[in-house]
Amino acid sequence: MKRHANILVAVLVLAGAAAVGVLTGPTGLSDERQANPDPLPETVLEGTTPAQWRLVWTTDPAHEATVGWTTAEAAKTNAVFFDTEPRQGALDKYRHQQAATATGRYSARKPALHYASVELKKLRPGTTYWFVMVSDESVSREFHFITAPEGDAEFKFLYGGDSRSYREPRREMNRRLRALFTQDPEILALVHGGDYVEDGDKLEQWVEWLTDHELTVTAQGRMLPIVPARGNHEADSVIFDEVFHNPGGKGLNYYATRLGSEFLLVNLNTEISAGGDQAAFLETTLKNHTTVRWQCANYHRPAYPAVKKPGSALKYWVPVFERYDLDVALESDGHTYKRTCAIRGGKPDATGVTYIGEGGLGVRQRTPDPERWYFEGGKVGSSNHVQKVTVRKDKLLVETIAENGKQLDTWEAKPRPTRRD
């Protein structure tokens, strides 16, 4: 009996201690969201009908783009027919056509689906291209996209990460992306910070993601190009490379994107060694572009996180960012929105680098820790969101926009005096 009493005492003490811990824990998890009841038509995956299309930009989006899609059955031929004028899908009218660069079955036991990727090269900068995807006899509707500008151009792009796990909020965010993209034709592309799906090895989750991605196309058929980075939920997923056509090289996935002559975006992969070849790549890239006015990085695990512990970016990349005066680093993974103060040498410093993002393209939001020193003068909060980045000759503007379109935060930078020829 006494033994039972003692066990009871032990259990009570433990339960009491746990209760104290729970009750004194942080509060304020935002969980309200509205389901939008209007489902948009999505392409049905059957036969060789091109579905789940994506337009991928990597190093030179003024001259190159990759169109990728999925078919239920393997097609013998896959190609993109394209032109600088609309041809309403009349195949004989398109002046250019390009056969698939890569085709195959996605690396998954089920479902059995097939991908086709077509690299379009030697495109003209700042030009609208009209195109259709053709798999055997099946022809998609006509879409169009605009290549990146050249020269000292002004433009906008969207940035966001963490679109995994929750379908309805993700679809809601995709509708927000489409609304922004429709209202503001200056927007060039979506820069994605990684974590598309919960498990990057599960094709059925990619199928859902890609289907939802169709919602980003405007009513007029303008496709939103995507600049992808790998997240930890893609880990070493092969499907990631099949969907996005090996951006930056298969399994490596780090590369620099040039938008106009005065904007550099370095996309990095936090899922492979940060301190080895990638650190060398980052150093070389920034060193070779010291005169480019605006410099920006995009990667998944944050160096200055709002929720978790810092990733290897802090140790291996931040010193390089600071050495070359990066303007802003876009980070995801935390499931909050955040903007740090400008940081140099682990301290607030007006000449330092600002870290913005943390991921809110539909994933359930977490509670950030606003007490961290680098949020003094910055901003954190819990809400699904996307960042709209405006690139001007005299300023760089980053607006954080909630899924209902409300502006949550803005930040502005002036060109650094250190950038000179």
Binding site: R3, N6, L14, G25, E271
Partner: protein, 251 residues
């Protein structure tokens, strides 16, 4: 209730566990010094330490299983990698209940699981490990090590870890297992377990102390086995003028 709440609740409960394990041990230090005394004490309903140890083990196992669910890279290795932690707590509970033989088995299982899992992660070139090597070489030796070289070293470490796990398992299953070879192997595993735990501090500074603390079990488990087995060797080499009822030999 968010994950942060749960984590904090568990942290408080674990703290209470530690207090409950330590308190009776401190109060009755004289007669609690052997497993036999504990056995009697537990039977008399004297202490609640083993409940606390069991709870700690259960929580650590739960976090290991959570890691397996959450980890996106080689998730199957996450739970065994935590083996030394939860097995150590379970072994403590078994020992407090006077089941020294079971405790020993749990310690071996924990060390084998952790070393094998870490070895396999190294052989798969876990990015974090590659960066540890590059960072340590730079910070400690001032060498700029290439990624290729670091990966080569990591493969060697992986082979070493898996071999250590396999050897320990073989020695444990072998009757005459407690020879100098076993002691040497455990000595190496103790060093390596503590060394890699401490490497977290070398890598990221003292802010990483909790990261190192949670890995103390990786060295402490082989160390406990080492002391235990050496104790048995010594008691076996002593003249047998007393009956062999040493609880540490409880079979």
């Amino acid at each position: 209730m968010s994950a942060a709440h749960l984590e904090r609740g568990a942290a408080f409960a674990l703290f209470a566990c530690a207090l409950m394990v330590l308190m009776p041990a401190g109060l009755g230090a004289a007669n609690m010094s052997t497993a036999q005394a504990n056995h009697t004490a537990a039977a008399r309903g004297f202490n609640v330490a083993w409940v606390a140890a069991l709870f700690a083990g259960a929580w650590l196992l739960l976090t290991a299983l959570a890691a397996w669910r959450v980890e996106t890279w080689a998730p199957a290795l996450a739970a065994p990698a935590h083996g030394a932690r939860y097995c150590a707590a379970f072994a403590l509970a078994a020992w407090l209940l006077g089941r020294a033989r079971i405790a020993q088995g749990l310690l071996v299982a924990g060390a084998v699981a952790t070393f094998a899992a870490h070895g396999l992660e190294a052989l798969l070139l876990r990015a974090e490990f590659v960066d540890y090597l590059i960072g340590a070489a730079w910070r400690v030796l001032g060498w700029r090590v290439s990624q290729g070289l670091a990966e080569g070293a990591l493969l060697a470490i992986g082979v070493m870890d898996v071999a250590a796990a396999a050897l320990l398992l073989a020695l444990f299953g072998w009757r005459k297992r407690r020879g100098p070879a076993a002691i040497a192997l455990l000595g190496w595993m103790t060093f390596w377990g503590f060394f890699t735990a401490a490497a977290r501090i070398v890598d990221m500074g003292w802010g990483n102390l909790p990261e190192a603390m949670i890995r103390v079990a990786n060295g402490a488990v082989p160390l406990t086995l080492l002391l235990h087995w050496r104790g048995i060797r010594q008691s076996e080499s002593e003249p047998r003028n007393e009956p062999r009822n040493d609880p540490r030999n409880d079979r």
